[in-house]
Amino acid sequence: MLPARYVVTGRTVETADSVTLRLEPLERPIPRFQPGQFTMLYARGVGEIAVSISGDPSVVDSALTQTVRAVGAVSRALHDAKPGTVVGVRGPYGVGWQPSLAWERDVLVVAGGVGLAPLRPVVLTVLAQRWRYRRLIVVAGARTPREFLYSDELKWWSSRDDLALELTVDHAADGWTGQVGFVTQPLARLPLDPAATTAFVCGPEPMMRFSAETLLRRGVPADRIRISLERNMKCGIGQCGHCQLGPLLVCRDGPVVDYARAAELLSVREL
């Protein structure tokens, strides 16, 4: 339960409210992470929150890459952390995306807003071991064109011919010539091989529900649609009770679960 000390060695501004931090251990590093896992990040004296890991799992070093959106006191403190700031890190925790479930299959990554952060390691894993997978399709939605995370990387992804990138925004802006609409629109019309597709979906809960329902209609099996749940997390190890969603302790049994399991839970209000 004792955090490991990490120092901020890099800070990249992603959007008006989000930054990506590079963290390096001062003493012992935490174990290697799997795509979709999270850490508990502690800002001294302010508090601790769960933050997904957004780094490249194929890079073998002890640094951590985590994207933080300033939404509350702790995330604001972490967001504002300058290089040299020491933070506490526990983890990595939880069940991740398990990209290997999509070996020999088409990979469909669907991200809404900052939901792209925990999915970035999936995309990078597939790109690093491209031969293991068939098609790679990334669908990402944002409020406005300026609110996409990893915009430089998105440019690189869009230039590749082994990755199909579909970006869509809620509100267009001057100079935006891309799609305007919700992520379910490309999902409804993209050429898919539904039985051979594994989808990884992350974003606000209704966005994941709508996306999963669209994919179900297209014929993607529910147990091939993986979503990442979000609930209040205090301990990260299934002992504080906060993150319950019906039978699930989201920190321990998730955050990533199959839609086959999650669908009935997400359809109950205030569960």
Binding site: M1, L2, P3, R5, E27, Y42, R44, G45, V46, G47, E48, V71, G72, S75, V86, G88, E230, R231, N232, K234, C235, G238, Q239, C240, G241, H242, Q244, G246, P247, L248, L249, D253, V268, R269, E270, L271
Partner: protein, 358 residues
């Protein structure tokens, strides 16, 4: 099995203390039987009994000098193995330091079957913290809100004790039947002046404990509760409970297995020294389910549903067993007398299509 009198019990407490234990047992304080340090038989609530009903708990003078016949009180042993508030660690510029553990080993005196089961449940959730020495007591006088017979956790104590006592008050006087359940138990028992119990004495105690199962004030409906709660997620009855429930969280505080906690971060004025504290939390608090921007469970109905569904249903999914041990505390200490067994019966009635008022 061995037998000893009140002097023997006193020797037992002193032997535990001499062995380095902090002995916790029942004491009378603030018109209730609470759990606190005891140093001998004189500290125990001799001749005090308890009368309980939904939303009600009163002490009364018994006609005898019984020490352990007061059913479940406002506290449970939870507070000693999972403290209401504890420091987790502190941090300065040089690193994080875990808060030191209390070195003294605890000994619990007078743990009834329900509470022994609860300690096991808690241990399976929180992992092995230091295990106390347990002197359990069989229950021969269940209270009006007890239902451990229907949860399979009493009235006789299950496994997990170091010593198990059965308190006897008969023509021969006030004495205890004792059984050691561990090597530690045998070692401590060896320090007590005792005699072997006769077969008749053992049979008599067994008869009384068995008979107690038939005198439970409450009964949990004999149903697959996990399935019932799963089937009841959209039940109307939650709204009915919400009309009465004050969402005060008393049930979660007195429950011997409710384990939820939250954390609190504090700093000194300079910000150089920070500490992290853990304290009990309740799923009835609105911000328990807080997610940036708002809480998931805001209605009283959803918060009561969470508590009951977790306790009796999803606990199975998470930890492989029920979270209820039938102690009845949540009924006694609910300010409006909500009765877990009656609510379950009402949910079962709703599922089967009957309209039953509770």
């Amino acid at each position: 099995m061995d037998a000893f009198g009140l002097d023997g019990l006193d020797e037992l407490v002193r032997a535990l203390i001499a062995d380095g234990h902090r002995v916790i047992g029942p004491r009378r304080r603030d018109d209730a039987i609470v759990l606190d340090d005891v140093t001998g038989v004189a500290d125990l609530p001799s001749g005090w009994g308890v009368e309980v009903a939904p939303g009600r708990y009163r002490l009364h003078r018994r006609g005898d000098d019984a020490l352990f016949r007061h059913s479940a009180g406002p506290q449970s042993w939870k507070r000693f193995v999972h403290p209401p508030r504890r420091k987790l660690w502190e941090t300065t510029d040089v690193g994080f330091a875990a808060a030191p553990d209390d070195e003294r080993r605890l000994a619990f005196l007078g743990v009834r079957g329900c509470d022994l089961a609860a300690l096991g449940v808690l241990g399976r959730v929180l992992g092995a913290r230091s295990r106390p020495f347990i002197v359990a007591v069989d229950c021969t006088e269940p209270g009006g809100l007890c239902f451990c017979a229907s949860t399979g956790t009493g009235p006789s104590v299950g496994p997990g004790y170091d010593l198990a006592l059965t308190e006897r008050l008969d023509d021969t006087g006030h004495w205890f039947l004792a059984d050691a359940g561990s090597e530690d138990g045998e070692r401590i028992l060896a320090a007590v002046t005792r005699r072997p119990a006769t077969a008749d004495e053992v049979a008599g105690a067994l008869r009384d404990v068995t008979a107690a199962a038939g005198r439970m004030g409450r009964q949990m409906p004999a149903l697959d509760l996990r399935q019932l709660l799963h089937d009841s997620r959209q039940a109307q009855h939650w709204n009915d409970v919400a009309e009465r429930c004050l969402t005060c969280g008393n049930c979660t505080m007195v429950c011997p297995t409710c384990f939820c906690t939250t954390t609190e971060d504090v700093t000194d004025l300079t910000g150089d020294h920070a500490e992290r504290w853990e304290h009990w939390a309740s799923c009835f608090e609105v911000d328990f389910s807080y997610l940036h921007g708002g809480s998931v469970r805001t209605s009283a109905a959803s918060r009561y549903r969470q508590w009951l569904s977790h306790k009796l249903g999803t606990w199975h999914d998470q930890f492989g067993e029920s979270g209820c041990v039938g102690c009845g505390r949540c009924i006694a200490w609910c300010p409006v007398g909500i009765d877990i067994t009656a609510e379950v019966a009402a949910l079962a009635a709703e599922r089967s299509g009957d309209d039953v008022d509770v």
